[in-house]
């Protein structure tokens, strides 16, 4: 790594279960010039302290579609929709309409339903020919069923939306015209959903948001409404499914850790947090921001106005913040990882994701005491060319 040559980012996972070497030395400099998959330049802010501070810094804008922000993908604008306003004050006002559905109490009320879905999926796994692909048999269907319930979408619609969402999240996987077809398809699918809920409102978040938008379009415009539904649907299952896969694959790869949890299931919540810290998925692409004023970092280095910035999720391995960061310690405390981001854009669905991860981890390790990877962990295949780099499949047996 030199100062002048940008490093290609994200760093490749080779082999698939090992933390990329670059993550360890990343923080020698507070800013690392990188090249995004599009080839466009960006700056990666590497240290936990700076990352944390910048997540709460209004000089970084999330309205990346409204500034000349570097592109993640050459073929897909992904989240850079210029029509969407993602900065305060509008962002915060709209966010609060959504987060009321994600209070600790409401998420706890959902937990029995998530257990029910998990049990049903595991029963189907028992009846299926082995090895079973954990991604398709469990990791995807669980959060899909849950977000569909929350949004009031028939789970059978996944046949319609899954391919569209894959296209929406393509970085290099699909050509530009296919990406466009998927984006349009997804937008139209959500538009139809809005119409349906307007005509036949039900007890779900979509109906509630449609009503708010109809009552007062100033509060939530049609476009912002659909943008939020899109975000909720995508973030509601792709990220959780990917993390369930990454967490379980890692636990089964380090089987002694899974056994430790099986001997004491009260370890599950802390283990889930540690796996979130350690099994970072999607690198830092989700933190893309545009710098609207010079920002001085802790060591005096300046992030210049006009730069495209990524806030490093790899800061989860910063030794200034985490003791023995390369060690996976399922009892780690404190564990203030930044896998859900920080600041006002902190993942609105984090409480739901945490609960789903807890149920998944405990459910699978309880129902299948002998659960194991059907192939060596180092032969697992990661997704390539997508926004999230989880496992394409995880064959398991027991």
């Amino acid at each position: 790594m030199t100062l002048t040559t940008p490093v290609n980012y994200p760093f490749p996972w080779t082999p698939p279960m090992a933390i990329p070497e670059a993550w360890e030395t990343l923080r020698e400099r507070s800013i690392l010039p990188i090249a995004l998959p599009s080839g466009d330049p960006a700056l990666l802010v590497t240290r936990y302290k700076d990352v944390k501070a910048l997540y709460s810094d209004h000089r970084l804008s999330r309205n990346t579609g409204r500034y000349p922000t570097s592109r993640i993908s050459a073929d897909n604008v992904i989240f850079n929709d210029p029509e969407v306003d993602n900065d305060p004050p509008r962002y915060l006002a709209e966010r609060s309409l959504v987060t009321r559905a994600f209070t600790a109490r409401r998420i706890e009320e959902l937990r029995p339903f998530v257990w029910e879905v998990a049990e049903e999926l595991m029963t189907a796994m028992e009846a299926a020919p082995r090895p079973v692909d954990l991604m398709e048999a469990f990791a995807f269907p669980l959060p899909i069923r849950v977000i569909c319930k929350l949004l009031g979408v028939p789970a059978a619609d996944q046949a319609k939306f899954r391919h569209l969402v894959d296209g929406f999240l393509s970085v290099t996987k699909l050509p530009a015209d296919e990406v466009d077809r998927c984006r349009t398809g997804l937008w139209n699918y959500l538009g139809d959903l809005v119409v349906l809920k307007r005509e036949n409102p039900t007890e779900d978040l979509t109906s509630a948001l449609v009503k708010i938008s109809d009552d007062d379009p100033e509060r939530l415009s049609d476009h912002q409404l659909q943008h939020w539904l899109q975000t909720l649907l995508i973030a509601g299952y792709v990220t959780t499914a990917t993390q369930i896969g990454c967490s379980l694959a890692y636990l089964l790869h380090r089987r002694e850790v899974a056994t430790e949890i099986q001997n004491d299931f009260s370890l599950v919540p802390a283990a889930v947090e540690e796996l979130l810290r350690y099994q970072i998925m999607g690198a830092s692409l989700g933190s893309l921001r545009y710098c609207i004023e010079d920002i001085e970092l802790d060591d005096g280095t300046v992030v210049p106005k006009g730069a495209t910035v990524l806030l490093s999720a790899e800061a989860n391995l910063d030794e200034e913040q985490f003791e023995c960061p390369m060690k996976m310690d399922i009892r780690r405390k404190p564990n203030n990882h930044i896998s859900f981001g920080s600041g006002i854009h902190y993942c609105a669905g984090a409480p739901l994701a945490r609960m789903e991860l807890q149920v998944s981890t405990e459910g699978l390790l309880r129902r299948f005491p002998e659960l194991r990877l059907a192939i060596p962990g180092d032969q697992l295949r990661r997704e390539v060319g997508s926004f999230l780099d989880g496992f394409a499949e995880i064959p398991v047996d027991w």
Binding site: Y55, S56, L92, R95, S96, T99, R100, F102, T103, A104, R105, I107, K333, P334, N336, F340, G341, S342, G343, I344, Y346, A348, A350, P351
Partner: protein, 83 residues
């Protein structure tokens, strides 16, 4: 000399900052709650001293730094502040 002894905890939360991460409720459930919208509510502004660690964890876990903990120290005019 003995280390200064904390005599009183004082907890407060800035609801205007709250983004409903729920971290405070998870880490110190007897001290924090949420209203209907999910905004933080302090249940006990002078909680028992044994809860200092949990509350510190809640303050450090809050993604927007909405929680403050003041630890008043016995016999000295010293105050430790988190968040």
């Amino acid at each position: 000399m003995n280390p200064p002894r904390v005599s009183r905890l004082r907890v407060s939360a800035d609801r205007s900052k709250c983004v409903v991460s729920c971290m405070c409720v998870y880490r110190a459930p007897t001290v924090f709650d949420q209203d209907e919208d999910g905004l933080v509510v302090v249940l006990e502004s002078n909680p028992p001293i044994e809860l200092a660690d949990d509350i510190r964890g809640a303050a450090e876990g809050c993604p927007v730094g909405a929680i403050s903990l003041r630890e008043d120290v016995d016999a000295q005019d010293e105050v430790v502040q988190t968040g």
